[in-house]
Subunit: 396 residues, 4 copies
């Protein structure tokens, strides 16, 4: 049985293109699922981006007005890949129109906004999904499986981090990411959200935190009005500058509900690591380490009493690991970043087909936002803060 | 200016699907090139494979008779991804029809057959291309560039290998790969061809060789007639068996025309390495190491007299390296195996647009076949053999 | 000019033997210094240990009464390698006798005891040294040098850790290390002291901390009276048990005086890492990573604007790095753990020859103890604590 | 029971000092063996070297006439660490005096000289030992043990190499190593001898070979008469030069008696590797990789059918591995190069105590020389050469 699902994508920048390709891959990679996404319409302020997407990816229609996506009758899934400050408004409209929603992280600019977004979708009874793509790496999924099966014993330690160079150049432009108004939180909302999401998936809910933030680069060149200003664009030393109004760095000590102890850390202006989204975890019977910079590998410690295995084993991704066989049949043949997005898209569409939520949706984003809120409180209080659910009971 | 190019694919097994996806990616990843491949028709004996390809990748037509692909008027490029024993016949037909030809490696089952294929295409004046995909890894291309620029000095050593586990299970089926009649050479034709091609690209022509072969697993379970029998399928201990009639292992000492010394080695039944297609090379001013199992990395030694750099630097792929920026904008965000095939497809289509050959075509395959022929002679003679070009002057 | 220096060693367990060998190495490895240690006398409760040390290392005399070491007229340096609970008493006696003191870490069982010890030695005007041996790894010294020269720019991040499996077996005996009375602090005093010392050396003083501790294994088998019970001895499941009275785990967020942000973490019961004493640090112009498990390597990031060096370079220890050439003349020929102790011994004896302190002495141990005290306060307060010097003005 | 053994060392350069320290370590590290080496006398042309050795290591006597060592009545073991061209003469004298002989590799300058040396010692009935120190790395010994126990199955592949930078600087002096007269063979005799010895120990006798040599740097600055000219000394571009008369590089394809296929390779002028003495071996049930640059690690593949172990496990040296516990009690605490020499010295002295040979003695050196002779023949013949034992039946 095949399931055609109409897709509308909003924001055809980096992520919008990536998501669109991901939908295109689903029918091919997950053939047996019967899911056949249909790229109905895409929207971007920059018209040429929509044209290019249409030509190269096959959207049936394009628009510069994102509300047309939401309202299009053939669209069942609205995919939001616009800047953070538009997420709330777009979710509101999509939920009102009864559409299922895929929203890129961070869902809201602030924990409170995420709570509102979660509330809107819950009230509307629509399904949701969030782009925590690192979850879907086959070696991460395998780690998750081992933990669930109890093979690593009781978890005792979890160390998560995301160190990125994306803002390390002090002449990197003052794009929306560095502005509290448009982006909301800084690195805590941006890449630290992946760290917390991963920790939640692997080690379970966080009970309490003590956290710290810092802004290393306090002003940056203003983007020139005309220029598109992508994520990685760089200005000149003598360009006019504006203030960075959210944090570059965040660290935290955390305690999980299951008693595991952890540290979480993230920085967007660190010099050295390129895209070090990584975890190390230890249990009473085993341990695992993973780093996105080598996403097709897992270092697994499962000695099982033998000297020959009393060290970390470097496993290479292959068809024996979750999802990997969808992409190629050979051990040691790596998949790429965008393939994680194809798995992600499949997961959501499968949820849509079944009519039941799959994680990570707004529910998980809310859990994460609750941790972020505790971290923010800790920045002020300088002390441990319990994680308190931000779940809204009433509309705002 | 856009260039629509009609594509026909023959053999919709692993590679046929991979190639088809690759063509689909070209318009998107190499947008500015204007190249817009059109998936006109695909063929496979197994009809359901063609149906699936049509549904998921959008071929306009499908067939079980590969000659329809060759003859289709809208097809400009014939892509051959059928088993080796069909390559000659298919190339003959495609060349006769004046079509440009992409042929998977090994081009011919034997060096002689490759020479014949090269001759046919040359005579017909059509362009050709071969699936030596490892060439296209951004970090390999970067290495190539450094060598060309002289940054590594004069090359002195080259060590190439491809160690794969694909046949290491003695109950792995006796598929066409293990049969001299259907596959021609064993590992020398199969994965060692990548090793020699890489050596040629990076270190230049090989002048002479001394080589050895061995077959470790001399018989294997016969595939059951009905079963599809893919590359990685496994039989039962009590299945009827047949003889393996080509080599599992080949090694060689080689001398390059530029005076560099090398060793090349490959095995398809080795226990340990998964997909270790790798090289290490040294020059008088620098050195480099690469392994497909970590294809998004390069270990580069370029001390330039400073202590701080007097060791191998681990470079992570990113947009600063050849082609990588086509796939994503961030350092340390890896691409996957199939992305190499997209680069490969682009290279060939660019050659087609320009009407001039780009390597690696049948010309380079012939050079490689000449090396293989010298190795085969060395197996018999037990001594060094000069590489002699197999280029045909007259038709067979 | 040669300098004979009389050495007395107290406690001939693991460290006592290691230190004695280290002194023996000094004349050989640091020949030109003219330093010629003389192994005058050693003491241990267990007489056979002193006999063995005499026979194999050449002590002139042995005793079971450590006070004889302190009082011996030929002894200029008293080396304390007895369990922690004896350090204070021994230092008091040695200082009173006007002897220079090498004391193993942790100097005192508690920060306060360390302060008292520092005070005693300061008052007595004797030189002191502490066994923070990881400092002396050539690759760590080289990192220190790069930082001092400003080559890594302004430090922004420091992550230090020491993860050890030494207590991970729940049947590991309840030796003195797990007892607050005898050992004082748990992992914070034991191996975390190396982490803080390293952080101080490389990144400078810590200004404030927030910290957490945990005890994972709350009881352990009691050592049988007769058995010696070394560091790594293991009991039986049905042995009688006693409570672990100090912490297994400690973590902290820290802020350095220079503005760098850090995390420090240590555990003695973690499952996976063997002896992972490691740091990662980042500055505005470079970065470095080191792990004692690969002590002869350094991963150094100093891109200096070139793509070829825009990754971590793996440097192998060799004669070009500090001290390494004392041990062998070849690049890539590793030294061992005990060689760090030889460098350490040399440093102290050089201080003795010169009559001026060299770090790390009790002064540095006091600085470290002040950080530990802040961490201990933070365990109770749950909040950030400023580091306040514990330096004593008056005798206790 | 203690065994005092009188030691005489000839040649107090790098190796002479290393050996002397090794003997000094034996009583300490292998206490229970009862072996108590006595450093009786050492000899060197350079008198100051003997003085230094006496002062720092405790030799009872020194001399500049090596024959005094051989003739000294208290000397039971003559340790030869003089340049290669003196080995034969020294062995002849020592054997004639009925002394047991430790001789550094290469035993003879040429395979024939090694055969003569072996013959002399055999005739005299003295025990012998050779400095193939890499054998003694705990992780190598462990690999040996696994192979002996059959845990890796039947060996199929062996790849050995020793790549060193020691001669890579073209201005490195023309020391005796580069001179056929004084050193005999070049890299084949020098560091390739370690490669062949390791292959023999791990994979058993080599049956036949085809080999190639090359000299990359054909002339070098002459050492100035006065200057000592150590292993790593460097001249000036305008120094007078002399010809290099032996090979820089050797490679070989080899077949072992047990059917395993291999490649062996070594170069002393390669640019990149520092001290890469390494092997990779595969069997039908497991595989192992080791590299001296990380001598305290072993990468072991022993999947035993489980997915969790289907990759190489990185084992860190520790007391559970052969000999390691003699040096320290903790997992992950590395030993150094010279510690291998202590194990080596112990092995030989144990043989002396027991009165029965232990490998590797001249017998094993002869086996190795027979392989080298086959390689040398292959350089001329250009073809496969069987290994024929050079064992002498009659005195020369
Ligand atoms: N999951 C992940 O790892 C990643 C997630 N993201 C998230 O994806 C979202 C988008 O980020 P990027 O694609 O990197 O940004 P981008 O700047 O490349 O793309 C944003 C696009 O939205 C368009 N846009 C802006 N306002 C619009 C409007 N009113 N109507 C229609 N289109 C509009 C822009 O023209 C642009 O094309 C963000 O929320 C970001 O946090 C981004 C990168 C990675
Ligand atoms: N570049 C590379 O790294 C790789 C290259 N290859 C090469 O690609 C080629 C195909 O290999 P795979 O895709 O792995 O094999 P496969 O067995 O998966 O696919 C071969 C396909 O050809 C079809 N076929 C057989 N006879 C046919 C006929 N008469 N007409 C139409 N279709 C026919 C089969 O039904 C099958 O679908 C081979 O030459 C192989 O050496 C394969 C794998 C990797
Ligand atoms: N720097 C480093 O990395 C390390 C430092 N240490 C420190 O070294 C010190 C000793 O530790 P280990 O050598 O591991 O312990 P150990 O238990 O092996 O040795 C202690 C020795 O002291 C002796 N001893 C006990 N009471 C004595 C007394 N009253 N008089 C004379 N001798 C007495 C014991 O008999 C024993 O031989 C501790 O402070 C420890 O924290 C230990 C290991 C590593
Ligand atoms: N097992 C291994 O890994 C190594 C083995 N070796 C071997 O050790 C031997 C010595 O090499 P190195 O110590 O590196 O050389 P070196 O040049 O450092 O030392 C040789 C010493 O022999 C002395 N000597 C020369 N002629 C003499 C004579 N007639 N009487 C007494 N002494 C004399 C020299 O003065 C010098 O001190 C060589 O056979 C070499 O191949 C060297 C380095 C490593």
């Amino acid at each position: 049985m095949t399931h055609q699902i109409g897709i509308g994508v909003i924001g055809m920048g980096w992520m919008g293109m990536v998501h669109s390709r991901a939908y295109r891959q689903v029918a091919d990679r997950f053939y047996e699922s019967g899911i056949r996404p249909r790229l109905v319409i895409c929207a971007d302020e920059a018209e040429e981006r929509t044209r290019r997407a249409q030509e190269t990816l096959g959207f049936e229609q394009v628009t510069t007005d994102w509300r047309e996506v939401v309202e299009h009758p053939a669209v069942q899934v609205v995919n939001i890949a616009a800047p953070n400050y538009l997420h709330l408004e777009m979710v509101r409209a999509a939920a009102a129109a009864g559409k299922h929603i895929f929203c890129e992280k961070p869902v809201g600019r602030t924990p409170e906004e995420t709570a509102e977004i979660e509330y809107l979708a819950r009230k509307a009874g629509v399904l949701s999904f969030v782009g925590f793509n690192y979850r879907w790496a086959p070696m991460v999924q395998y780690t998750h499986q081992l933990i669930q099966e109890g093979q690593l014993g009781r978890l005792t330690h979890y160390r998560g981090r995301f160190f990125s160079m994306y803002g390390s150049n002090p002449y990197g432009l003052l794009t929306w990411r560095f502005d509290r108004e448009q982006a909301g939180l800084g690195v805590l909302g941006d890449i630290m959200s992946h760290v917390v999401d991963m920790a939640h998936m692997l080690a379970g809910p966080i009970r309490r935190v003590v956290s710290r933030r810092h802004t290393f680069i306090t002003e940056r060149p203003l983007p020139r009005p005309a220029a598109g200003g992508t994520h990685f664009a760089v200005g000149q030393p003598d360009d006019p500058k504006g203030p960075v109004t959210n944090e570059d760095y965040v660290s935290a000590l955390v305690e999980f509900e299951n008693g595991a102890q952890g540290t979480l850390e993230s920085c967007r202006v660190i010099f050295g690591p390129k895209c070090e989204m990584a975890f190390e975890l230890n249990g009473t019977r085993g341990a695992a380490r993973w780093n996105f910079e080598r996403m097709n590998e897992l270092e697994l410690y499962l000695p099982e009493g033998t000297q020959a295995h009393d060290g970390y084993t470097r496993l290479l991704a292959g068809p024996g690991f979750p999802f990997h066989g969808r992409f190629n049949p050979g051990d040691g043949i790596g998949i790429g970043y965008e393939d994680l997005k194809a798995i992600e898209a499949y997961q959501f569409l499968q949820a849509v087909v079944e009519g039941t939520p799959r994680p990570p949706g707004f529910r998980e984003a809310l859990q994460l936002a609750s941790v972020q809120a505790a971290m923010v409180r800790s920045w002020e209080s300088g002390t441990w803060e319990e994680v308190v659910s931000l779940e809204r009971q009433e509309p705002a």
